[in-house]
């Protein structure tokens, strides 16, 4: 146990101190790592729905909700990014709870298919949102995060005044660490056991007094919260959002990250997102064959490691690896 904590701390130090220090001038690498971190955060949300035995391919819809919340709040109402971020997460979670309540009654492929159509529906809704979402032109010129002061002390300086890439890297890293910590805590406390019981048998869980409907909506909404936060992050770091910012393919990718990392592990989605996304970027040199090679590698991985990358680690104990 102590060894694990130590390993986690070393990983954390590597991630938060060494990497940004070494690559502080390399915009491209920092950008990739930032994106990978936030993709991991979204995938963690997908993993939460996996934890209750549902395949969620609608995560892009909630990322879109989060992204548009931030865009609209910050551009039209001039709200600070630091308020927009939680607001986006809450908005996505709220939408997730409202939609999730009815559709979580579905199981298996039905749920997968309905969430897939949800991704498409969200894109169309944004496209037809009139003046609120500005249709296909999207919302542009979203301001960078400003400074945060508390009692005269500058807690977070304005991003404009800093190395922007480094600032976003830290924001992404902190969000991911917080997210991972939350999910790890959830997985190991009573809530995690409830979620696992839901995955194995909902009827049985109900028979021992678990409020099935309540807990599955909770898990789903929490997953959506992550998507909303990540959506807000991407919106601000790219300073724009379009209906096609998050689409069906993105939803499928988030699901794939979880799968390839390993569904039995909390850190599975994180590992999956980092490995796959970095791998995809490494194949950049292949140009038009990038996609092709990537898909081939993915299928090969699937053939040899159908239970995820982390299943390589033996003996496997679920939910223990702490950092990517």
């Amino acid at each position: 146990m102590r060894l694990r904590v130590a390993a986690a701390l070393v990983g954390l130090a590597l991630y938060l101190v060494v990497v940004p220090f070494v690559f502080r001038e390399s915009r491209y690498l920092l950008g990739i790592l930032t994106t990978a971190s936030v993709l991991s955060l979204i995938s963690l949300g997908v993993w939460l729905t996996f934890a209750i035995g549902r395949i969620n391919i609608g995560q892009a819809a909630f990322a879109l909700v989060g992204g548009y919340t931030t865009a609209i709040l910050s551009v039209k109402l001039g709200v600070s990014f630091w308020l927009c971020l939680p607001a986006s997460g809450l908005a996505a979670a709220l939408v997730g709870a409202v939609i999730g309540w009815p559709i979580l009654r579905l199981k298996g492929v039905y749920f997968a298919m309905i969430t897939l159509t949800l991704s498409e529906a969200a894109r169309l809704a944004a496209l037809n949102g009139g003046t609120i979402t500005q249709g296909a032109t999207g919302i542009l010129n979203i301001p960078l995060p400003g400074e945060v002061t508390f009692a005269g002390v500058v807690l977070v300086p304005a991003f404009r005044a800093l190395n922007v890439h480094l600032a976003f890297y830290y924001l992404a890293a902190i969000l991911l660490v917080l997210g991972l910590f939350t999910v790890t805590r959830i997985a190991s406390c009573r809530l995690g056991w409830i979620f696992r019981s839901l995955r194995q048998d909902e009827a049985l869980a109900a028979s021992i007094g678990v409020n099935v409907a309540k807990y599955r909506v909770l898990a789903f909404a929490l997953g959506c919260f992550f998507a909303g936060i990540a959506g807000a992050f991407f919106t601000v770091s790219q300073q724009s959002i379009y209906p096609s910012s998050f689409g069906v393919p993105d939803s499928v990718y988030f699901m794939l990250y979880c799968f390839l990392g390993g569904l039995s592990y909390v850190s599975g989605p994180v590992v999956g997102a980092f490995v796959l996304f970095l791998g995809f970027e490494l194949l950049h040199g292949l140009r038009e064959y990038q996609m092709l090679t990537y898909a081939a590698i993915m299928i090969t991985m699937m053939l040899w490691l159908p239970n995820g990358l982390l299943s390589l680690r033996l003996p496997a104990r679920p939910g223990m690896k702490a950092d990517a």
């Binding site: 298919m113 897939l116 498409e120 064959y289 092709l292 699937m302 159908p306």
Partner: protein
């Protein structure tokens, strides 16, 4: 009718293998391209082209089943893994057709010229031909499944795999047949529709989504449900585009679908949970 072909193909694969074929739309695109090349570029007979589409895509399906899905189904600990594999194959086919055929929109000239007048509406002869062909294929497939020995084996596997195996049905062989048949249907649909709507390499995902919508309406894994779902989607699309043009139509269809599934989660004809 063409939608029915697509929906039938995906339902067939789902019922027999328990695999949600994400690559269905991509197979459709592949079929469209084969027809485009054989008929549009090389100038062979249209029916030859259709057959070529069906055979090519069936082979692709066969290869996928034999080398990918069968292995993963055997060694995985979670059944959802096949979905990942299906999504992976979809990506593969997507990028393959982009690399092979380029990103241009490809269409072919109508097969037959002329226009019929049916109850005061004008129907181009080529569309009528496609309608008849698709109808014929759907009926042929239904007859095949209902009355022949392989068809019976397929139905048996769909109902209960273990029991079917106990009765001496060769699961491996018929799973391959089912997968190839489902893929061939996607290829045929692509070959038929390329004469009306052109195809391009990126058209796969929307088609897959439509296929999912259809089997959700009808009920997954049920043949009659697939056909019904196809008609429901076809009509609501046509009516929707007539009254409210633009992409709002699809939004309405999707919202309607979600509301419908709240009341009847297993679709019109489906058994609970497929």
């Amino acid at each position: 009718m063409n939608y029915a072909l697509i929906a039938l193909g995906i339902t067939l694969i789902f019922a027999i293998m328990g695999v949600l074929n994400f690559a269905h739309g991509q197979m459709y695109v592949l079929g469209g391209f084969v027809t485009y090349y054989v008929y549009g570029v090389f100038g062979l007979n249209y029916f030859v082209a259709l057959a070529a589409s069906a055979v090519t895509v069936a082979c692709v399906g066969l290869v996928f089943e034999r080398f990918l899905f069968r292995r993963v189904l055997r060694i995985t600990t979670r059944e959802e893994s096949t979905m990942l594999l299906a999504a992976g194959t979809a990506l593969l086919l997507d990028s393959l057709s982009l690399a092979l055929f380029g990103e241009k929109q490809r269409g072919v000239a109508p097969v037959v010229a002329g226009v019929y007048e049916v109850f005061g509406a004008f129907v181009p002869a080529s569309r009528a031909l496609i309608f008849v062909l698709a109808g014929g294929l759907v009926s042929a497939l239904l007859l095949f499944i209902q009355y022949t020995r392989p068809g019976r084996a397929l139905r048996a596997i769909a109902q209960d795999k273990e029991t079917a195996a106990l009765q001496g049905v060769d699961i491996d062989r018929y799973s391959a047949l089912g997968f190839a048949l489902g893929a061939a249907l996607a290829g045929l649909a692509g070959g038929l529709l390329v004469t009306v709507f052109a195809v391009n390499a990126g058209a796969g995902t929307p088609i897959s989504i439509k296929a999912f919508i259809m089997i959700m309406i009808g009920g997954a894994g049920v043949v009659s449900g697939a056909i019904l779902g196809a008609f429901v989607l076809g009509f609501s699309e046509a009516l929707g585009y007539f009254f409210i043009p633009g992409s709002t139509t699809y939004l309405m269809i999707l919202v309607g679908l979600i509301v419908f599934l709240i009341f009847r989660p297993q679709g019109i004809m489906g058994k609970p949970w497929g």
